[in-house]
């Protein structure tokens, strides 16, 4: 059953390079006629270069941006132009994990208070034991709740980001380049964590990445974007086996291959 459905969505933003003397700034169309739907428990990879609109699409799906054209429905309810008050009850059910956990955690609040605000606002138990349980679920010690974001490592901060998203028991999560700032072994840990949470909670997951090898290991379906448009989509296996457009072929060709000749470095 379809959880989130975007139909022919376009998004305009004011063009900051253009200063009008009178009246409004010129508009820049950064998403053009994009359609995408996710079923419960399904994982879709959004892939593209920087500036291709994958993050904007992700934020549109969460109704952080209001689409300029098209319609957006969550669980059968039209939220294209919903007001903040109408969105409030839905907010808990759709969450986001950010690329840069450094900037997504308020430096003035402890991890515990960041989690507690989120829980309290959504009328969930924000006691010490439940926060410790959430931290434990993402592999952090309970003592992390007293720490400030700058006192954690990058991998730990990304775990806090995931902890926040899953603490609210959402149905839909947008993960925006969540592993691109991490080293490979930490990447693998965070991805394992995400997979575990997804399978456990039946999340619909929009996984935004420019790293095709990560997308291939995680996503059933993949959407390739370029210049604000979807250029190709399909099952991950199919797209990787027979890419239809030249752009996709280039992207696939750019995946770094593992070491082909063992021991070449020693020679």
């Amino acid at each position: 059953m379809t959880l989130i459905e975007a139909r022919n969505i376009s998004l305009d933003v004011p063009d900051m390079s253009h200063q009008a003397l009178i009246g409004q700034r010129r508009k820049l169309r950064i998403l053009k006629n994009v359609s995408l739907s996710l079923k419960k428990g399904e994982t879709v990879g959004l892939v593209g270069e920087s500036g291709s609109g994958k993050t904007s699409l992700g934020r549109c799906l969460l109704r952080l941006h209001e689409p300029s054209e098209g319609t957006l429905a969550f669980d059968g309810q039209d939220i294209t132009h919903a007001s903040p008050a109408q969105l409030k009850p839905l907010r808990r059910r759709m969450q986001m994990i950010f690329q840069d956990p450094q900037s997504s955690l308020n430096p003035r609040h402890t991890i515990g208070s960041i989690l507690a605000t989120a829980l309290k606002l959504n009328e969930l138990d924000a006691g010490e034991t439940s926060i410790a349980a959430i931290l434990g679920r993402v592999g952090l010690p309970a003592s992390a709740s007293r720490r400030y974001p700058h006192q954690l490592s990058g991998g730990q901060r990304q775990r806090v980001g995931s902890a926040l998203a899953v603490a609210l028991k959402p149905e839909f999560v947008v993960a925006d380049e969540i592993v691109s700032g991490l080293d490979v072994s930490t990447q693998a840990q965070v991805l394992d964590l995400l997979k575990g949470l997804r399978d456990e909670m039946g999340l619909a997951l929009a996984f935004i990445s420019h790293d095709l090898s990560v997308v291939r290991s995680l996503c059933e379906r993949v959407v390739i974007m370029k210049n604000g448009e979807i250029v190709e989509e399909g099952l991950t296996a199919d797209v990787f086996a027979n890419p239809k457009t030249g752009f996709t072929r280039t992207l696939i060709a750019s995946i770094p291959l593992p070491e082909v000749r063992p021991g070449w470095l020693d020679q």
Partner: protein
């Protein structure tokens, strides 16, 4: 804050104060004008003048005069005012509370007003409200405090006399206070009618001092708020379901306040400097007004004492701002 840091700050404050003492002491003696010539009666002989000079110690070399004064200051004695024939500490002690109450009242107005316009224009960013506030702010920023003061005197004191424009309180009211902290003591003793009268006298000079500062606070705070509002943690707060007001106050303001706070500290010292002219315009009996009298009378001990007082105020304000900045920023607190 670690103890060693506090200690080094305190030491550098003392060094600064010493520098202030040297500079002002030398400057008032190098500058033209002679306190003795201001006080001699016509027809005084050269011997009378020399005797007066010796009486005030002005016949000694400047460095010797300085060490005598420096020794006195270390013993808590700022000397005797030449024009007012009273201890400098006594005079300043009587006038300082008036200036402190005025400056703090003006600062409070500026922070509240500046913070308010920053929050409103951040909340309605991109809308006409923001442009209106920006333009209004530009006017407040462009006009200096003494022009505001003169304008208030003309418009609200002369054309439409709605507020008092001189003094600190109505002389016909005798509140029977023992200190010069009229507002503080008046509130503590429950003399609200008197406090109200003092506030009315204070309102126009305080506005003149507060307007430019409010504009600076408003502008800087708005800019830092705008930087903060595009951070991911603000988006995260929206996703968490926080209301716009709570996002502004709880998530954004504390992050944005730090740069604005540092600037407010610096600007507050300008505001205290501005009290000199503003108090004159409103005949307000504070140390700023006193400073002008002291300069006119070439009252060297009083000038030195006043500059030292201003120096202590500036240094204290700066140290308070440093402490607040550290307290507000956990990253510095744990450094």
């Amino acid at each position: 804050m670690p103890f060693s840091l506090i200690l080094s700050r305190a030491l550098s404050a003392l060094v600064t104060l010493f520098g202030v003492m040297v500079v002002v002491f030398v400057l008032v003696r190098v500058a033209p004008g002679d306190p003795i010539s201001m006080m001699i009666a016509p027809g005084a002989t050269d011997a009378d003048i020399a005797a007066l000079r010796a009486h005030y110690g002005l016949d000694l070399p400047v460095w010797q005069q300085f060490w005598i004064w420096f020794g006195q200051v270390l013993h808590g004695n700022l000397g005797t005012s030449i024009s007012m024939k009273q201890g400098v500490i006594t005079i300043i002690g009587q006038r300082l509370p008036a200036t402190l109450e005025l400056a703090i009242f003006a600062l409070a107005m500026a922070v509240v007003w500046g913070g308010f316009i920053a929050l409103v224009s951040t909340a309605w960013r991109g809308a006409w409200v923001e442009r209106l506030i920006d333009n209004f702010n530009g006017i407040m920023l462009a006009v200096p405090d003494f022009i505001w003061g003169l304008a208030f005197v003309l418009v609200l004191g002369v054309l439409a006399p709605v507020l008092p424009i001189s003094g600190r309180s109505d002389p016909s009211i005798d509140a029977g206070l023992t200190t010069q902290f009229y507002i503080l003591e008046g509130l503590l003793r429950g003399k609200f009618a008197f406090v109200w009268d003092v506030l009315k006298h204070m309102l126009l000079p305080a506005c003149a001092l507060a307007f430019p500062l409010a504009a600076v606070i408003g502008r800087v705070l708005k800019n830092t708020m705008m930087d903060v509002m595009v951070q991911d943690y603000i988006t995260l707060a929206r996703i968490k379901g926080l209301s716009s007001l709570r996002i502004l106050l709880q998530e954004a303001l504390r992050n944005a306040a730090v740069p604005a706070l540092a600037l407010t500290g610096v600007q507050f010292t300008f505001l205290i400097g501005g009290t000199v002219i503003t108090e004159r315009i409103f005949s307000y009996p504070g140390i700023g007004n006193l400073a002008i009298d002291a300069v006119i009378n070439r009252d060297l001990p009083l000038i030195q004492g006043l500059v030292l007082t201003f120096g202590i105020i500036f240094i204290t304000v700066n140290m308070l701002v440093d402490a607040l900045t550290v307290w507000l920023n956990p990253r510095l607190r744990h450094a």
